[in-house]
Amino acid sequence: MAVQPPVAPSERAAAAGLRPAEYEEIRRRLGRDPTPAELGMFGVMWSEHCAYKHSKAVLRRLPARGPGLLRGPGENAGAVSVGGGWAAVFKMESHNHPSAVAPFHGAATGVGGIIRDILAMGARPTALLDSLRFGPPDDPAVARIVGGVVAGISAYGNSIGVPTVGGELACAPCYRRNPLVNVACLGLVREDRIATSRASGPGNAVVYLGARTGRDGMHGAAFASAELVGDPHDRSAVQMGDPFTGKLLIEATLEALATGAVAAIQDLGAAGLTCAIAEMSAKGGVGMHVDLRDVPRRETGMTPEEVLLSESQERMLLVVQAGRDSEVLRIARRWGLAAAVIGRVVEDPVLTVSDGDRIVARLDPRHLTDAPEYAPEAAEPAYLREARRLDLEVLPDVPAADALRALLSSPAIASKRWVFRQYDHMIQINTVVPPGADAAVLRLRDAAPRGVALAVDGNSRYCYLDPHVGAMIAVLEAAQNLACVGAAPAAVTDCLNFASPERPEVFWTFRQAVDGIARACEALDVPVVGGNVSFYNEAGTGIYPTPIVAMLGRLDDVRRHATSGWVRDGDLIVLLGSGRAWLDGSEYLAAVHGVTAGRLREPDLFAVARTIRCVREVVAAGAAASAHDCSDGGIAVALAECCIAGGRGATVTLAAGTNASRPLDVLFGEGIGRIVLSLRPEAMSALAEVARRLTVPVQVIGAVGGDRLVVAGDRSPAEPGAPVLRFGGPWLDVPVADLRAAWEPEEPVRAHER
């Protein structure tokens, strides 16, 4: 069978987004010029988005070991055991560029995309988390993006029937034209039913399932790997999602897997059919013969290249045991989905793609999946020395109460109810702790009384000042949030959002961040089971280095959990952890003084890990009435949030720490590994015992009661029991009602971005 005539090199290569050297490498591997179809396939498969050319080597640093690990990176998503014979499948992905040009559809298809990665593991998608970054919301253009993104996640997630149980949202000018939309999905599957993308069984049928193929998102993968210059007014780069078909695809796929006839499965995501047939064949060490004529289409006149590269949504590719494909086709028909046998698995590792009897591509699939790896230059950014200088003396003095109100109404800290009220966070009826808490808690209905908890974190301001420490803190904060609801860390997935890796100072921050994530995960003994890298976030100025970490936790008894609100007047308030905090890089400096500067201290990983363990043990033992970590805005904001959530006040005396003497440092300074607990006085001994065993510092700092938050300063830690104010008036004395008013914002006008 003659392969069709070759094409002229250089410019065709460039058109496919390949470098001249890469084109030469392709010729070397093939021993000839690639056909137009092959060139297109290499173009998307060797794009940064699919191939991780610049990140693969660095990503190997991430620990993929840990207790309960069932599947690490390499499959469509990682999996860990959650007990009772059940596996949790967990993965996060970014959809930044599409959301920048079409906020509603970009965010919506982002949800659909990650859901199908989970589905491809044979798991039923069970929960979603969304981590969002935007420019300053007072800019109408930004407000419109915010409205569109939230509406898109809401429209898709609600309709497809997967609850969005948590997330985060922060704003900074660097995201004005380059918002970040990272979505994590959790799925559940019996451990013995986890599916694979490894194609096998020569003669087995290659079955297409789902929506028909159109010209959607041509070169979306390449698009995601290119810097945003203006709005590329090219609809073909934007995929359109259809949650209705997405829901049918979930049911049909799970039904097909239940027949036992499916040998392998993968979603058609970035790089569409090309990526699926190449990855499935390469992983299985086999080949495939696929005829594009048999691919169900929505549009007429599509070229073979367009069919191969289309990123139409809501599609899966299955390898089905020979002779049993009719069972899968019947299921598809019942659910009203398109389905067809488009090819067969073959013994030799050769991918043959034909258009009728014309062969358009014929090559070893590993040529497509084994893209070149680059080790870009890294250089410490020059800005760091400047940015780390911080002179607090020059800042105007601000009354503590005013600063607290300003912090409570800053986008990062203010109530997100206006967001998660638009998300169905209850469907599937497993949501024990809904959005708004430190972490969401879900019950495991089929493994009762077990449960899981989910949190997603990332502090891009920290990472701007110190990507290494900032990334560590993202991991520790996620674990800290899980501990507060009583869960032990089980798995991490991450999205690494950065500017162009081809700029040495950007790549330096990337390497630093990955190492920070790795060290923190090792300290917590939690595996990184998967994730995603998004480079070239450069619309306007490059974004801050923004690693986002999502963490899954286990609860042995989901009934034993805590939330942040005070529960009872008279309960003692305890501060667990080293208690050290600094204003460097704090939300206080950013929100109150518009300053992002300072030097981050590297946390004592093992001390923080012990604190996290202590909190989890105390909560899981039912000894704590409430638990909440100190993060953005320091202990003052943490206390205010406990008051707001519990609808009651507190009287607290804070020791001016060794490092911090002025009230503002103590109130608003930030430091990882500090948790505020409230508990019955009788429970103190139980807490003290655990803390002693784990050598975690404990300070009783006050008591719950009244309808005001009163915080006084004191140089010596207060005695257990009701603390007395020594000298000086209180640093803070604010009615809880005022705190709530500052914290719960007006809903912005909805943008009709569609």
């Binding site: 929506a211 159109g214 007014h233 609809r235 359109m240 209705f244 009203g336």
Partner: protein
């Protein structure tokens, strides 16, 4: 006729080739109701806007469409000023 109020009728539809999930679902429904002979359905949005007459009204209407009522990445629009 400055000072008067004009009625602008705007129709926004998906560009050809863009997935029209609503149109497909509606086609299904018409079939279920026994309406044979329907070959295709395209769904779109319609807006009727009362706006004060002014010079460059045409220009302003186009701005409203491009900047707000339609997402020109995937949608096309047409309008008439009555």
């Amino acid at each position: 006729m400055a000072g008067g109020v004009r009625t602008v009728r705007i129709i926004v539809t998906l560009k050809p080739g863009v997935l029209d999930a609503p149109g497909q679902a509606i086609l299904k429904g018409l079939g279920a109701l026994g309406h044979s002979g329907v070959q295709a359905v395209r769904a779109g949005r319609y807006f009727e806007i009362e706006v004060e007459q002014s010079d460059g009204l045409d220009e302003r209407v186009r701005e409203m469409c491009e900047g707000f009522l339609a997402n020109t990445l995937i949608e096309q629009y047409r309008y008439e000023i009555a």
